[in-house]
C-alpha cells in the first residue's frame, strides 16, 4: 500500500492511484483527482461519480457498465463522452473507490 498527496491530503492508493479507503475521500478530493485526469467535473459527471460511490458503499461492488448506463441516469453514449478513457474506471477513481474488477 502506498500513499499519495492529492490536493494537500495524504491518502492510501493502489499502484494506479485508486483510493483504498473510501472514507478518506471528499468532494474536493474528487475535483483534484478529476483535474489530474484532465476532466472538469460537470453536474452530469457528478451524477455518475456519486451513483458509483453509493453503489460501492451499499453493495460492496462496482456496477457493470451496463447497469451504470441504465441506472445512473446517464446513458452509455454520454458516459463515454464524459469519461473518454473508460467511464467505470475513471468515475471510480474520482469517486474515491477501489478499481472495479468486472469484465462487463
Amino acid at each position: 500500500m502506498t500513499t499519495a498527496t492529492i490536493g494537500g491530503k495524504t491518502v492510501e492508493v493502489d499502484g494506479e492511484g485508486f483510493l483504498q479507503k473510501p472514507e478518506q475521500w471528499d468532494e474536493e478530493l474528487g475535483v483534484e483527482i478529476a483535474k489530474e485526469l484532465g476532466i472538469e467535473l460537470t453536474d452530469r459527471h457528478w451524477q455518475v461519480v456519486k451513483y458509483m460511490r453509493q453503489q460501492v458503499l451499499d453493495t460492496g461492488s462496482a456496477p457493470s457498465i451496463r447497469s451504470l448506463g441504465k441506472q445512473s441516469g446517464v446513458p452509455i453514449k454520454e458516459l463515454y463522452q464524459l469519461f473518454p478513457k473508460g467511464p467505470a474506471k475513471m468515475a471510480a477513481k474520482i469517486a474515491g473507490i477501489p478499481k472495479p474488477h468486472g469484465c462487463i
Binding site: I65, I76, Y80
Partner: protein, 169 residues
C-alpha cells in the same frame, strides 16, 4: 537479471507498453463464437482502448436483423459441453442449452446479443460487415441492425486496423 526479448526489448519494457487500439474479427455464428469478440470489444472500450468489430461469414448473424436474437449454442460436435454425442442432436437440446447459458449470463449482467451490439456501438466502437461475405450471402445494408456503420472490404479493414492489434475469433 532482466530477460531480453527477441526484438531486443526487455520483458519489463514490453509490459509497460499499452494497447491503444484493437480490431476484432468475429467469424463464427454460434453463441460461443460471438460473445468472446463482443466481450473483448466492450472490455477494450471500458479501458479507453479504441475498438472496431468486423463481422464476417456466419459471424454476421450477430448483426443480422432477423437472426441476431436467435443465436444458439452448438450442441452437436461441441466437446466442451461434455455430453454424449447422440444427446446433442436431440431436438430442442440446442435451445435448452442456449436458454441455460443465457440465464447464467444475465446473472452476470452480460447483455443479450442485440443489446450488447447497441452498447458497444454507443461506446464509440465501429461495427462493420465484411463485403465478401455480404456478397456471398446476397445481403445488403438493410439486412443489418442500425448499429452497423458500413460494409467494408478486407483492404478497408486492414487500413482501419493500422497502428493497432488484430484479434481473430
Amino acid at each position: 537479471m532482466t530477460t531480453t526479448m527477441p526484438d531486443g526489448t526487455t520483458e519489463a519494457q514490453q509490459a509497460d507498453e499499452t494497447i491503444t487500439k484493437v480490431s476484432i474479427v468475429v467469424s463464427k455464428g454460434s453463441l460461443d463464437g460471438i460473445y468472446p469478440g463482443l466481450i473483448m470489444a466492450n472490455g477494450a472500450r471500458m479501458e479507453g482502448i479504441d475498438a472496431n468489430l468486423f463481422f464476417t461469414f456466419f459471424g454476421m448473424d450477430a448483426i443480422h436483423q432477423k437472426r441476431h436474437d436467435h443465436i444458439k449454442v452448438a450442441t452437436v460436435g461441441n466437446p466442451g459441453l461434455h455430453m454424449m454425442t447422440w444427446l446433442g442432436g436431440v431436438p430442442g437440446m440446442s435451445a435448452m442449452v442456449t436458454h441455460f447459458m443465457e440465464k447464467s449470463m444475465e446473472e452476470l449482467d452480460i447483455p443479450p446479443i442485440p443489446e450488447f451490439i447497441e452498447m458497444i456501438s454507443d461506446s464509440g466502437a465501429g461495427i462493420y460487415a465484411c463485403k465478401a461475405s455480404v456478397d456471398m450471402f446476397k445481403l445488403s445494408k438493410d439486412d443489418f441492425v442500425k448499429e452497423v456503420d458500413e460494409i467494408i472490404t478486407v483492404g478497408d479493414f486492414y487500413q482501419m486496423a493500422g497502428g493497432g492489434q488484430i484479434i481473430f475469433t
